[in-house]
Symmetry: D2
Subunit: 329 residues, 4 copies
């Protein structure tokens, strides 16, 4: 582990003196300037990328994305669209419709399949952009809905601004540290849980790391109802520990809504989201599949995640991968 | 260049003896067995990944994806859905609707934005899965629509099967080799064009490379009508050269439909697609943004592309990146 | 009642000698010829319309349609899309986006609202076209899916062929006749139930009538889960009684799926649908709101229903109305 | 014609003393009270319905709706979704997918077809609700977007409030009066055009009538591009004549956007819409097919139109019908 420590200390140290953010009742101003739209993702630099991609051992790579299919778990409490996919062209249908006016001979020979899909942007493995939750009508860096929210999304901090996320990644397997298969329904992860997990795993979080938190809920992904109901998730103290003490680049978890419900704040039904997104500039990944990493006890890795550039969107699907380091054993 | 040559020769040589494929009038059987669903992507191995990710210089990384927005260019000739994005939650609307029944105080405080989107799967930067085009009712490896095509997509070779594509990538900047800004409308790229480009660039294609062909059409991405009309694209001889002589892993281009129209085959309106997908097992990427790579003359790079795992789909969007090699200068 | 009897006997008698249909294991040939696409709706004639629209008393008219809204009950068992509606233009968003390039002054002055919606065609008050269910690959009148089903719907018997349905309508308030508020969950309506209801109501069904069957399930429309679960519905004997003995024009009910489940036929999960649509040429309306008619004991009325002309569709929403007759008291 | 005159004078006279509306720079207060959501549609009463439905001759009825299909003309200038329809269940696909888990035997026997569709609410024959256009952030009767516009539509004046429209209808065949087949592209209909048409047709408009204006543009419905481009439409003076002098119930036309463009008002890109909807409480129907009525010279008729009850929507599709009067000859 020593060598990795050095790599990151050397290359990122100095960049990580994140200026103190003012937070509390309102959204924060970005330390990266009044036009900043990506918050902590500014920590990605040539040096941080170089450090993150050193000493890779890609013999095994980890696919951290779930599949998209009709009936998959998704955020449904507020009436959002379920994932749908449908065929717009099939070999037989193309012959009947002949949409390209090429006639039977070609339609018999060329077997054309085409499909379309629709989804809430927060479906499947995805990242929340900084505009997903704000406070009092404003989002991260004081951009206001009144000025920047159109009918096609936000003109500020939309998913198209998120750069390819190339960084060192850390898995925190909380249930493993607690010696259970998965956290119990509704369990709220504490700061102490995270500290204990770091010790149990002999893991260090460096400033600028992507930190992925396993709750174990992904074990039930194929049972949508069970997956969605009353998931364990992060609490506020744990979020502060990661965002402030550990200066993470971005956070992720394997559940549907990252934080635990009901909220710890009577005036705010999603305090962890508003804290991370609007006050700390920390993007959040949800439905990240961490089961294989956990099984193989891969706690440090290069994380590569490239969200779809949906202009103006408050989230975008991505299929991140984890590549272990050569010195991980 | 010598060192790179050696790296790849050493690490990939031996894997690349692709068994001869039978093709012609019908789809091909996979050399990887009767249950193969990914064709050439089988060439991705621990060794090929290791080779592809050696000696990276990620000081600059290249984002090869276009943005998704209302009005973007898309395949529309056959009536497919245009890209749409819409808000399902806004700070003001949430207060009016109160979909989560949290009341005015919380809705005033928490500013919730949510969006949804829909698209034809072949919209924006995407990869065609092997089931996109077949011949005579069958796709790659003889899977038949009658047996495997449901109303939610194909049960064989769907996009969810595509592994993370980690490979050496090669840019072929055909217009640069021809000393033009972009190929003329409808221009059909020949085998000779590709050979000349390889020489002009001093580039070698190794078996298992992802080869990305620049036509220059991406210069007009913001003028959807101009982008879509009569694009230059690949011809059959060029496709054969890449698939058979060069044993590529996957192919891509910066235009809408990869191949040039009208077709060279009177019985087949998309012969390059059916040849690559159904007879060679070669997936095809379209709308890959190659402008910056071309500007910087980066002709070799690590290619990392992770298509969304849309179960059963004949295509999936992806946001690929290119990472230059340290020895590229 | 006598006068009504005479009106209809005089005007429709003669038209109603519906030729015997061959049914059983297969779909039926239409008695209206090999190109018929509307089945029993052929019974609508100038004379039948005239009879249906005589002696109207439109002091009160009845709106038989439910509302469409996010979260409404809908057919979901097979993964079909839930009803969605969303704003594509709002006064504030239009100012931010300026999609028509008219500038702030006009966008401030003109407050533009636009919305879009999507739904499974069988959502809300709707009519099943004859192509909704067939037998052994064919629908009513032997049109085969192989020949006529494209990717955009059926080229035969699609909803666009359904004429405006103007006919005498009859309400059968089965729970009222059984002196209950609503039929119990899963209750299967028998022929005897219908006969008893006719007597209880002092109602006569004439050939060519639209017959609407109340189960009482509509009382729970605002509780989607309760509305959808295990509804009471028609049984086969009752369907035969209406289709053959009574020679109805079209049928409707207030529940989600018209017939009761589980099916009475081990080889057919929707025997009432296939019987009515494919063997009798009888279209089926579902989610028809009959509560007010029942409350006012209006058992005979002019029925006017005009389904949206969705080309190729197997169903279409409609908002039917009932207009009482002057001699109904 | 005399008898009809009497019918309407007798039955509607007295109801029609529409209180003076204040209009000009702002939206109007409704004369029907501060909670009114339907404007002029309040003129529909038991008496007006009775008058409208007297002396019908339904030997021929007129279907005033266009068909919905992929590629149909639609409002596209501001990026709104084109009409889409797709299959969610097909006989073959159901066998492959088995979404209801009934097995091959039943899936072979029962041939299931299901489809879904999506559209901008202003697609095909439709009615604009009063919330479609307002002034300065408010709509008809001073309902403000700030208070009543949620993410699922308006809580005031949504399409679900529109009653079944049963009224006397009048066709104004303007091109016929001008002895042309259709009005020229971009032609703006004047008050004089309407007055001349009334004389040419020997037609009287009574207060509370639905008035449908033919431009002839519907002749090109099957050529979407031609249909959409630069249609003839109503001018402001003509709109005032109908709304104020003639006290119409609702208006309609056969073109895409009712009014002619470019606007007559430099500060308002849709002055006829804002005037009718927000200042006069007059709903507007578009894409009404008037060709057959015109061919048969049926200028007076019972109009029956029942828009889908889309909760909160600013428009709804409807399939209106016209039933001639017995004394029309």
């Amino acid at each position: 582990m020593n060598r990795k420590l050095n790599i990151f200390r050397t290359s990122i140290f100095g960049l990580m003196l994140l200026p103190g953010l003012t937070f509390g009742a309102d959204v924060a101003s970005s330390p990266w300037g009044s036009d900043d739209e990506i918050g902590r993702l500014n920590l990605i630099t040539p040096e941080s990328r170089r450090a993150a991609l050193q000493n890779l051992n890609p013999a095994v790579t980890y696919d951290l994305s779930v599949e998209y299919f009709i009936g998959m778990p998704s955020w449904q409490a507020a009436g959002d669209p379920h994932f749908q996919i449908w065929m717009t062209h099939t070999p037989k249908g193309t012959k009947v419709d002949d949409p390209l006016s090429v006639g039977d001979r070609q339609n018999d020979r060329v077997s054309y399949s085409g499909s379309a899909f629709s989804m809430y942007a927060h479906t499947g493995t995805h990242i929340d952009a900084l505009n997903h939750f704000g406070l009092n009508g404003k989002i991260w860096n004081h951009f206001s809905a009144a000025q920047y929210l159109g009918d096609r999304g936000w003109q500020k901090t939309g998913a198209e601004n998120i750069p390819p996320i190339i960084a060192r990644g850390v898995l925190l397997d909380v249930p493993a540290a607690k010696q259970v298969d998965e956290l119990s329904p509704g369990y709220r992860i504490t700061r102490e849980d995270l500290e204990k997990t770091l010790v149990a795993q002999d893991t260090v979080i460096f400033p600028g790391d992507v930190v992925l938190i396993r709750t174990g809920r992904m074990r039930h992904y194929n049972d949508a109802q069970r997956f969605m109901e009353n998931a364990p998730g992060l609490g506020m103290a744990a979020a502060r520990f990661l965002a402030e003490d550990k200066q993470v680049l971005s956070l992720g978890a394997d559940n549907l809504s990252f934080e635990a419900f009901p909220s710890e704040d009577a005036n705010n039904y999603v305090p962890v989201h508003t804290y991370l997104l609007a006050q700390q500039g920390v993007t959040i990944m949800e439905l990240v599949d961490l089961e294989q990493l956990a099984r193989d006890r891969v706690y440090h890795f290069a994380f590569i995640g490239t969200p779809l550039k949906l202009r103006g969107a408050d989230a975008a699907p991505l299929r991140p991968i984890a590549i272990p380091y050569a010195d991980a054993e």
